[in-house]
């Protein structure tokens, strides 16, 4: 029976890339000198799984390469080798090479064998650096084993239990893998084989005597049998050089005495270790159950699916209950009908939530690459940079995760490269030697905000303007605000490498950054101060998210205010209201004076009922750190709404973050609180100008 292994390839690649991520983050967290054994273990396990998988699928080059990494890690794990910064760096580079190999293999492309060879040599160099591992003749199969004993090989007796194949393990694969370690002599015991009439095709009857020659460590062999220890009788014992050479394998196979002894002692210990490894691997995969990988598939935590299936079940029950009720309905059953409808509503909402949850992934899938990037780049540039990340758990839509990665890399790289100064420069400027780059992600008013902030030298507006004029992007007599000048770095013509490094450095591919963000329906803002640093604020819409909203009414219109931005709702009395310069209305909320934004004015509602401030309600909201009171007619109720984009068929409208469909099928618009506050701010600026003119 042949199985088309190709159907499992995608799973293997998904898991391997996940494994690489684990290795990478683990390596980055590792402190040279004092490594946490659990951490090394998890890195080792990841490498081991990749090796096992690639062996199974016949990607021998990957298996060979991973094997060398694994050997190094194994020595670190056993404490036989110090964890040096050099070794960690080499391992990190190897992770990259491995990633390339996997990518190439998954795309059926050619693997850059030169690079692989070079990296392997690098690993071997580190391995050889250990005094114990003196002679390294063959890179992929000669490790510390030769140094630890003089044995020439191993005698392995492998008797699978009859159910082994049903656990998904194929003895043939194990033997093949053993064969890849060195010269293998195989002898099969055909004795237990039943006559064909009694033969059970899914049982395994055979057992093997194997002689493996070559400089192979016991760990390597253990690794191969790691997954099947519980399903077979296994003994591994060394062949001493005084014994017969493996060429005479058949004879050595017939001396069973030492093997039983050895089997008795280490087996339970090994088995426990094997079990540990398996459970923790499983735990690891549950934790990282969703990957940011391919564009077409999504890995979802099984519990999420189970919850969904449960809910569908409930929904079906409710539906049949309701339809039974509907068949012979009379008014006495109205109470039951109400109950049923309430149940239906609850189930529907729960189901909606969990379906949404499936598409939402924590942004850490994007953020996780940055520690590595910062680590590598800062070493390369000789700068000291600390990366601070917050809000990694912020959940965003999968599409956002996929598309925001590259723009973020661009921005972070720019911050490192051009924002943060060299240590001596920083000290001269009176700043700490170590620069800081911050990555923050959070939800705000129906948006996801991602902030990239550095404490570097900031954007030099004068130089930017000068360069823009020189390049003819702006007329020489233009008077531009700071914001408009910063905007220039997004201009396509402004972003060629040589220009920008002349100016401030920022801007390589910035037009692409902006385009990508705009494609997601988002925007990017720059704040900068010379000598203090700059921050890039990316605002992305939550296209598929649900939002907790407060419905408010103004006249005959209904709007939704995101609940997160509401602080409280109050009814104001005349005496709480003050006028600023006769125009701006403010009210005093405890010790703070807040501006009042009359929503019916700013949204142009003509039939608003409440004109006097004491007739309606003030919804106190906060957006981008600014507070104000939104004046509305009345509050209607709270409900969860599905955000629908207005941009999909129309365009972005200032003051609105989207729309939703209410229970009656009509559309209600969702207010963008920060946007409204900005709009109100502009209006008051206009007011003050008028006031000046009239004065």
């Amino acid at each position: 029976m042949t199985i088309d292994m190709a159907q499992f390839h995608q799973v293997f690649f998904d898991e391997s890339f996940e494994g690489l991520d684990i290795m990478e983050s683990g390596l980055l967290e590792m402190d040279p000198g004092s490594a946490d054994p659990e951490q090394i273990n998890s890195i080792f396990r990841a490498a081991h799984s990749i090796k096992g998988g690639s062996g199974t699928f016949g990607f021998t080059n990957i298996a060979d390469f991973t094997h060398v990494m694994e050997t190094l890690l194994d020595e670190m794990r056993d404490g036989r080798r110090q964890v040096t910064a050099e070794a960690v760096n080499v391992l990190l580079a190897s992770v990259d090479v491995l990633r390339e190999m996997l990518t190439a293999t998954s795309e059926d492309a050619e693997v850059d064998s030169e690079r692989v060879k070079a990296q392997k040599a690098e690993l071997d160099r580190i391995l050889a650096g250990d005094a114990a591992a003196a002679e390294v003749a063959e890179p992929d199969s000669t490790e510390e084993a030769c140094a630890r004993s003089e044995q020439t090989g191993w005698h392995i007796v492998f008797r699978p239990h009859s159910h082994m194949m049903r656990t998904g393990n194929d003895p043939l694969r194990l033997i093949r893998e053993l064969g890849s370690l060195g010269e293998l002599n195989v002898e099969v015991d055909l004795e237990p084989l039943l006559p064909l009439s009694e033969y059970e095709p899914e049982d395994s009857y055979l057992s093997w005597d194997l002689h493996l020659t070559g400089d192979v460590s016991k760990e390597q062999i253990d690794d191969i049998f790691d997954w099947v220890e519980d399903d077979c009788d296994l003994s591994i014992d060394p062949i001493c050089p005084t014994q017969k050479t493996p060429a005479a394998a058949p004879e050595t196979a017939s001396e069973p005495a030492p093997k039983t002894e050895i089997k008795a002692v280490p087996a339970p210990d090994e088995r426990r270790e094997g079990d540990d490894r398996r459970t923790s691997d499983r735990r690891g995969s549950a934790k990282k159950s969703a990957t940011g990988g391919g564009a077409s598939s999504i890995r979802v935590d099984i519990t999420k699916i189970d919850v969904l299936i449960n809910m569908v079940g409930e929904l079906v029950i409710t539906q049949s209950m309701l339809s039974m009720l509907g068949e012979e309905f009379d008014i006495s059953q109205i109470e039951r009908l109400r109950e049923g409808l309430a149940q239906l509503e609850r189930h529907t909402r729960e189901m909606q939530e969990s379906v949404m949850q499936i598409r939402m992934l924590p942004i850490s899938f994007t953020f996780s690459r940055f520690p590595r990037l910062v680590h590598d780049l800062s070493t390369k540039m000789g700068k000291q940079i600390e990366l601070k990340m917050t809000g990694e758990a912020t959940e965003v839509d999968k599409t956002v995760i996929e598309k925001i990665g590259d723009p973020l890399v661009h921005l972070v790289r720019n911050s490192l490269d051009h924002g943060i100064e060299m240590p001596e420069e920083r000290v001269a400027a009176g700043k700490p030697e170590q620069g800081t780059v911050e990555l923050n992600a959070y939800h705000r008013g129906g948006n996801i905000i991602i902030e990239i902030k550095d404490d570097g030298k900031g954007l030099n507006r004068d130089l930017l303007l000068e360069k823009a004029i020189e390049r003819g992007l702006v007329p020489s007599d233009a008077i531009l605000s700071d914001q408009q000048i910063y905007e220039l770095i997004f201009a396509a013509g402004f972003s060629t490498a040589e220009t920008v490094s002349d100016v401030s450095g920022r801007g390589v591919g910035m037009d692409v950054v902006r385009r990508n963000i705009n494609e997601l329906g988002g925007s990017i803002e720059i704040h900068s101060e010379i000598g203090v640093g700059s921050s890039f604020v990316i605002r992305l819409p939550l296209t598929l998210a649900i939002l907790d909203g407060q419905t408010v009414c103004i006249g005959s219109e209904t709007y939704i205010v995101p609940l997160v931005s509401i602080i409280e709702s109050i009814q104001v009395k005349e005496n709480m209201i003050n006028m600023l310069a006769g125009k701006g209305e403010t009210f005093k909320l405890r010790e703070e004076y807040l501006p009042i934004v009359r929503l019916h004015e700013i949204l142009g509602v003509k039939d608003a009922k409440a004109k006097n401030l004491n007739e309606g309600l003030l919804v106190v909201v906060e957006g981008e750190g600014r507070r104000c009171g939104l004046f509305v007619d009345d509050l209607l109720g709270q409900q969860q709404v599905v955000i629908k984009s207005l941009e999909a068929n129309y365009r972005k409208i200032s003051g609105l973050s989207g729309a939703t469909i209410l229970g009656d099928g009509s559309v209600a618009l969702i207010l963008d609180i920060p946007g409204l506050i900005r709009m109100a701010g502009n209006a008051s600026v206009a007011f003050s100008k008028d006031a000046r003119k009239s004065a």
Binding site: E557, G604, L646, A648, N649, I653, G655, I661, L669
Partner: protein
């Protein structure tokens, strides 16, 4: 009446597909003038329904509508063309069109007085709109065809609705 028109049009549309030589246009009335749009751009025709007003938009944008879960903007074509506006009646229909914009296909609706007919026409019957200088905006008119006694102005849907989108996006960028 709107429903019967829809049914009739659906029939016509089906018949029309067998005839590939001719382009087909859905014609409609607007202040006693006849307009037409490429029938392949028409997604559906529906009766006028109350829409949700969207603030800070030009007056010809009547609002947005829930079209099976999609938020679709509805434009009043009379106001768009600065024709005298009129109360919406039971004959008032919304033609839902597929518009090709910069960012892919969009769905938008236009409010017209009444749908009239499906017009078969080959490209030879198409003439360019005469130049009125600046007095009459002809940039949305793809051409003129005659249907019997009447002249039908064929609208360039992408320019008409796509451009609106465009210009206001630029406006927003300036702001």
């Amino acid at each position: 009446m709107a429903e019967s028109q829809v049914a009739e049009l659906n029939n016509l549309q089906r018949e029309g597909f067998s005839d590939e030589q001719n382009a087909q246009y859905l014609t409609f009335e607007l202040a006693d003038e006849d307009y037409g749009v490429d029938i392949l751009r028409v997604q559906e025709i529906r009766g006028w329904d109350v829409v949700t007003r969207v603030p800070n938009t030009p007056s010809y944008v009547k609002g947005v509508l829930n079209l099976r879960g999609a938020i679709v903007p509805i434009f009043d074509l009379r106001e768009r063309f600065d024709l005298s506006s009129q109360e919406y009646t039971k004959d008032t229909v919304v033609i839902v069109l597929r518009v090709n914009g910069d960012t892919g296909m969009r769905i938008m609706g236009i409010i017209v007085d009444a749908v009239s007919d499906v017009l078969n026409s080959n490209s030879s019957g198409l003439v360019n709109a005469p130049d009125f200088g600046g007095r009459v905006a002809t940039e949305f008119i793809a051409g003129l065809v005659s249907a019997g006694e009447k002249m039908v102005m064929l609208l360039d849907v992408d320019k008409l609705l796509g451009q609106d989108q465009q210009s206001e996006q630029e406006l927003a960028a300036v702001n």
